[in-house]
């Protein structure tokens, strides 16, 4: 497939790995922000190609993982109502709330549908005027324009039985929180390519300067990720800290203006709790008051939930890159994708779930799957 195959070619991967080896002289720790990048790194074994003194830290960039338990419980309560048809992306279905999950509610007779796009949920609301159709609007900035479009269309057409339960988080405040934390280990970032495709990267110049940290906007294929690492290492070795764009075929500095203006029209910024991390100021979206009629959180008032996370789970430290799944005694034993204890095991893009799926049960127990090269020396 064009724009995929050429970014998975072994010769290009090898050339980049060689360049990174040639330029890395000290210990560096780089965080890839997006769960899609984490998934690709572990799936293709890209970290196994890097010098031993270069560590990739896996960031909090999986919106499914960081959706607070309270909100999952709220979704479950709404989805259990007899008048509701509850629509969600597939990856939310197995995420456990305090006592159950959406798949279990569905098997008990709840009307829960997996949709590919928020517009599919809106189409369902038009087709089922006697049902209350609720869409679980989870995501980062990448998904926000699509969810905003569904809300605007419902508003314009007066589809009164369509509402969204908004669980949107935004990346730059999370990077600020990670860098401000006392235990921060991150020296450079691979910023999330599709978040920046929508939002651009002008906001990141301030972060790079404030914390003197290189930020490289990076794509998702093996060649993209290694080139992002290469740019970042080069900056670290030269003592520079600026924003660079590795993913220029997709990302413009100003992002997608049409999509951004729709986000602004529909959403306003709020403080948001992140599962495993806590409240990050200004890191979430909620619907503007004009669209209140489509806010499922208001439409279906449910009691305030107090959810308690399992004590043994260390996903907060893992989300911030301070620990790895191998540091957790529950990993792969009491905590698996079938029975997850916390945030980083609940979605396939979570660090723990990616390590589990690709059999990373011990440090360095893998090879690069693009060029079949063993652990780097």
């Amino acid at each position: 497939m064009k724009y995929v195959d050429e970014y998975r070619e072994a010769r290009r991967v090898r050339a980049l790995a060689a360049a990174i080896h040639g330029e890395t002289t000290r210990d560096w720790r780089i965080m890839e922000v997006c769960g899609g990048q984490t998934h690709a790194i572990v799936r293709f074994g890209l970290d196994q190609l890097l010098p031993r003194n270069l560590t990739l830290i896996h960031g909090p960039g999986c919106p499914v993982c960081v959706t607070p338990l309270e909100l999952i419980d709220r979704a479950l309560a709404i989805a259990s109502r007899p008048e509701v048809t509850f629509c969600s992306f597939g990856d939310m279905l197995r995420v456990p709330g305090s006592t159950t999950d959406l798949l279990t509610v569905k098997s008990a007779g709840g009307d829960i549908r997996i949709v590919y796009s928020p517009l599919d949920a809106l189409a369902l609301a038009r087709a089922l005027p006697d049902r209350e159709v609720v869409f679980f609007a989870v995501g980062f900035e990448t998904t926000a324009p699509a969810n905003a479009m569904a809300v605007v269309q419902a508003y314009r057409e007066g589809v009164a039985n369509f509402s969204v339960l908004v669980s949107h988080v935004t990346v730059p405040p999370a990077l600020d929180a990670i860098l401000s934390s006392g235990g921060n280990l991150v020296q450079g970032f691979l910023a999330a390519g599709h978040v920046c495709t929508v939002m651009g990267y002008e906001e990141y110049h301030h972060l790079a300067a404030k914390f003197h940290v290189p930020i490289v906007v990076t794509g998702f294929e093996p060649v993209d990720i290694l080139e992002g690492v290469h740019f970042c290492v080069r900056q670290l070795e030269e003592g520079r800290a600026v924003v660079e764009n590795q993913y220029a075929r997709s990302v413009r500095p100003e992002g997608n203006a049409t999509a951004r203006s729709l986000i602004d029209e529909v959403f306003e910024t709020v403080d948001r709790p992140w599962r495993g991390i806590g409240v990050i100021p200004g890191s979430g979206y909620r619907l503007r008051s004009r669209f209140q009629a489509h806010d499922a959180g208001l439409k279906f008032a449910v009691e305030k939930f107090v959810a308690v996370e399992p004590k043994e789970c260390m996903s907060g430290s893992i989300l911030q890159g301070q620990r790895t799944p191998h540091d957790c005694p529950a990993f792969g034993i009491r905590c698996t994708p079938e029975s997850p204890l916390g945030a980083t095991m609940v979605s396939s893009e979570g660090t723990c779930a990616a390590y589990y799926r690709y059999a990373r049960f011990a440090t360095g127990s893998s090879t690069c799957r693009v060029c079949e090269v063993g652990a780097a020396t």
Binding site: M1, K2, R12, L16, C34, V64, V138, A248, N256, T258
Partner: protein, 83 residues
Amino acid sequence: MCLGVPGRINSLCEGELRTGKVDFGGVSKDVCLAFVPEAQIGDHVIVHVGFAICRIDEEQARTTLEYLDRMGELAELRRPVAP
């Protein structure tokens, strides 16, 4: 979650909401093109949850790959010759 898949626009439908058929390596899907008003038939776009979020810049893509390939060739030249 932020998965974006590149595909080629095969047809356009200029309704209230701009849509089109996008081909993903042989699989065709209806995609909302409202966020890429500049994209035309034959262009490649990155699609996320049924929405194209950008038109792929072919020039930028070519430049990156040419840079990488030059870098690979240089690395080959630098490699010591086997005795």
